[in-house]
């Protein structure tokens, strides 16, 4: 088995295969989005404790090429009314859940079909991904970070200062700008919108305790939704990624924000031995 497949070879759309192997019938899985398989490999995370000695091994998985959109989430809500705004349990989502939709089951004029869905809680995002098929879930931090390290040509572009500056520039843009639609240029894995569109939930957001030590060094309130906690991690080169960790580690599972969305991963079909 090759650990590091050439990116273009790794780009295999697997949704058709999965529909066949999971349900036996294509109709068993109501999934419209494309998933791209990411081969197993090794990755040096910015999380100090994990990558100090050697890179972490990441098993193969398949990731959605784009974040989940308003339309896709609306279809999910229509199939699962317990996740509609107003019906969802308060332990699963805060009061601002899907508040930018005109009605609980109508996007209205202010939310567009192909914009990434935001104002979704971790529980809601997780429920959506589980409904994508057997084994569906949010990506782990390590899986997300690995895919997010790629630029258009390289699976790990983190050493490229120009690319780092480019992804960092998004964090300085005004948050009042209307969210763009999903899609656009794919990275070397064939995945889109890893940077420059939204923040994204990860499966193990509540495993990111890196802020626990840094928080005690200053006013906790000031570290809630900014990148200040990242500085003490002593890795400014990865500042954009550290900002993600700082945000995720400050969130509770019920929280929703205007720029926080998600994408899913599913298992890779391995086939008979």
């Amino acid at each position: 088995m090759t650990l590091r497949s050439p990116p273009r070879q790794a780009r295999v759309v697997v949704s058709g295969l999965l529909a066949l192997c999971i349900g036996g019938a294509v109709s068993a899985v109501a999934r419209a989005a494309d998933y791209v398989s990411i081969a197993a490999g090794e990755f040096a995370s910015v999380l100090a404790g994990d990558a100090q000695v050697k890179p972490s091994s990441v098993a193969a998985f398949a990731m959605r090429t784009t974040p989940v959109t308003n339309r896709e989430f609306l279809e999910f809500v229509n199939r699962n009314p317990d996740w509609a705004r107003g019906r969802v349990s308060r332990v699963f989502a805060d009061t601002q859940y899907l508040s930018h939709w005109q009605l609980p089951r109508d996007l209205g004029d202010a939310a567009f079909a192909h914009q990434p869905v935001t104002r979704v809680s971790w529980f809601a995002a997780q429920a959506f991904c589980e409904a994508e098929g057997a084994g569906g879930r949010l990506p782990s931090w390590l899986e997300w970070e690995r895919v997010a390290a790629a630029d258009a040509a390289h699976t790990d572009a983190r050493a490229n200062p120009a690319w780092r500056a480019e992804i960092l520039s998004w964090y300085g843009t005004a948050s009042s700008v209307i969210l763009a639609n999903v899609g656009g240029m794919a990275n070397a894995y064939g995945i889109q919108n890893m940077h420059g569109l939204i923040w994204e939930w990860v499966d193990d957001f509540n495993a990111l305790l890196v802020a626990a030590d840094s928080r005690s060094q200053g006013d906790p309130d000031k570290l809630q939704f900014c990148g200040a906690g990242a500085i003490s991690l002593k890795d400014r080169d990865n500042y954009a990624v550290l900002m993600r960790i700082a945000l995720l580690s400050s969130l509770k599972a019920v929280d929703t924000t205007r720029h926080l969305g998600f994408r899913c991963v599913i298992p890779v079909f391995k086939g008979p031995k």
Binding site: S89, A212, D221
Partner: protein, 214 residues
């Protein structure tokens, strides 16, 4: 704002993974409270908004009995998360719970059911949990040590706003917090204080017990 985090990293103890067959009894844990009998739990109805019992968490206790999180419904209860391989912080969690119970007024002393759910789904088998219960002399009448599967453990922690991370050593870095649930499973109090009883938290437990068992 997050509760102040008490985190810790300690050396691994449990190295052997043994294949253990789990005998599953049909009876759920009792979560028995002596004294006045509270109204029977109305588990057939949907829990109110704000109840953590909205999440169906499959659990297996230290006797191998299978139940779900909402088995505690109808009773004021304490819940926390831990793992049995933990040498320093987790014993202090148990101490805090023990002291909280013993600091309550005499009529409700040692009567609040306690559920401790493990982070360590790999090592904390019912047998491992039972060993801890015996070693710490935890009274079956109020203490239940339990484990779930990986997915539900992550979800339960998210529900309780507890952070945890498995380390390469097999240990867990985690926040420690004692949580008070009302009879419907709503979180009515929490304290990060471990090792000792938190006086304010004890008061809250007493108040909640008085409200549910007249």
């Amino acid at each position: 704002m997050k509760s102040p985090a008490t985190t810790h990293i300690i050396s691994a103890i449990l190295l052997l993974t043994s294949a253990l067959s789990i005998l599953i009894a049909s009876a759920a844990p009792q979560f028995a409270i002596a004294g006045p009998t509270p109204p029977p739990p109305t588990t057939t109805t949907t829990p109110p908004s704000g109840s953590i019992y909205a999440l169906k968490v499959p659990l297996t206790d230290h006797h191998g009995r299978v139940f779900t999180l909402d088995a505690m419904r109808g009773k004021t209860a304490l819940i926390t998360m831990f793992y049995s391989g933990c040498q320093f912080v987790c014993p202090r969690i148990i101490e805090a719970l023990r002291k909280t119970e013993s600091s309550l007024p005499p009529n409700i002393r040692n009567r609040v059911p306690i559920l401790m759910v493990s982070f360590d789904v790999k090592h904390d088998t019912p047998e491992a949990l039972k060993a801890i219960a015996s070693e710490r002399h935890l009274d079956d009448a109020i203490w239940t040590l339990a484990r779930s599967d990986e997915r539900h453990t992550r979800k339960l922690a998210a529900l309780l706003d507890i952070q945890y991370r498995e380390l390469p050593s097999g240990d867990f870095n985690h926040t420690s917090v004692l949580i008070l649930l009302d009879a419907e499973g709503r979180i009515v109090g929490r304290t990060p204080m471990i090792g000792e009883a938190d006086p304010a938290f004890v008061k809250l437990v007493a108040k909640q017990m008085a409200a549910t068992s007249p």
